[in-house]
């Protein structure tokens, strides 16, 4: 019983890895935005991503 469950589980893990690699998944978080106007190329300053007000680490030891 446990052998069968582990066999199915292991195959599922391999399948998930194959699918993730094929689809190009990543562990990084990325926000997406749709319909960004073409005018950004001419006026990059008009675009503000969600990261624009990120609080930066400026320390060091």
């Amino acid at each position: 019983m446990i052998r069968s469950v582990f066999l199915i589980y292991g195959l599922a893990v391999l399948g998930a890895v194959s699918f993730a690699e094929y689809r190009g998944w990543s562990l990084n978080r990325v926000d997406q935005m749709l319909n960004v106007p073409r005018s950004i190329r001419d006026n990059p300053g008009s675009y503000r991503s969600v990261y624009g007000y990120y609080h930066h680490y400026t320390g060091g030891k």
Binding site: I2, G10, E21, R23, V30, Q32, L34, V36, G59, K61
Partner: protein, 455 residues
Amino acid sequence: MSTRGPAPAGAPQVKSLNCPGCGASLTVRSFGNAITVICSSCHSVLDAQDPKLKILQKFRVAANEDPPLIPLGVRGSIRGVVYEVIGFQRRTIHVEDIAYSWHEYVLFNPVKGFRYLTEYDGHWNDVSILRSLPELSAGGASLKYLGETYRHFQKADAATTFVLGEFPWQVRVGETVSVSDYVSPPRVISSEGTGKEVTWSMGEYVGGRDIWKAFKLQGDPPTPIGVYENQPSSLSADVRSVWVLMGVFLILLLSLAVGVYWMESDEQVFEQMFEFNTNAKGEASFVTNVFQLKGRTADVELTTKANVDNNWIYLNFALIDQDTGHAYNFGREISYYHGYDSDGSWTEGSTSNTVTVPSVPAGNYYLRIEPESDSDHGLIRYSVTVNRDVPQASFFGIAVLALLIPAGLITWRSLNFEHLRWAESDYGSAPNDGSLLSTVESITDSFKGSSGDDE
């Protein structure tokens, strides 16, 4: 030493007699085969071989004495043979002044003879007398029987503390015999005797529900408590095959990784050096030239390297599809600090950073980059490299963990089962028989031992 069991019985004879002690009627179910019979009214042990049923012993019974779980006279089928319960006894051993008792049921079939059931804390064994002697190892740590090795588990002096019904031997309350158990789950071989007379028997673990079904008993059997000496572990057999499967999966995973690294293009589609003047005022953001992402939907890896030195730069990125306006926003900080203090030299951070944007369809893309840093840090140079369809090693690491964790849990549970079993033995822990489990347990015990020594 003897392996003689009771001789096979003749035709069934049930006889009603009267107890010479109290006059109560006695039903003798194995007449001609029983050696002693106990009067359930006055608790006299009677000589069943004597026509006058001579009284051999009288014993006191506690008022709260538990009745047998399987009543005398009940019939049930074991291994296709119908047996009748004709006797019941309780035996008790003392370990470190604590009394442990188990129950034995004498079963009788006129053709097959006697058989026994034992019960301890809800654990049942189907017991029969051995017809040949097992081979004891030097020192008695193990024995061999029919090619199977049994490990010594426990030795104790067991006293008969309660009897009821009929017995094919001269039973007495208070009688003490030396018992030794050798286990090879689900079987146990037991020796019991006094002096030169030793009887060997083999028990096989049986589930309480099977006993209840065989004897058509009402209600539920008592729930087993703890792990019994010859209780089979449902996990032990699986541990080896799970690790074999684990090895197969790791080989498959390695093959998959080789295939993925071979098949995925990891093509560099963009690379450029940039400068950010932290002293400059005004808008810092800009866009790059358009570059093409080809093929199926795949990941995009962006690597940034900057010449920061006790400084930082934060880069707001937007990967934008020129045709659809679909933007992927992310920010990366590159900071690198170093110095020297009372602990010596130290460094913190890195001059490079990599981020992977997941599942980006093919198309024509450009980057919008907006650098930030503290002002008056001068010129920071940085490079941005974009690669398409890059294998992600992290998924393979997660897969190895995902396979190891359940295999480890199954192994731990099995080890725990064996630990609980052997904790009740004379040895406190399982001897190493060279198997995977016992080797792992020995290693674990040695670690425990060495940490205990340190204390």
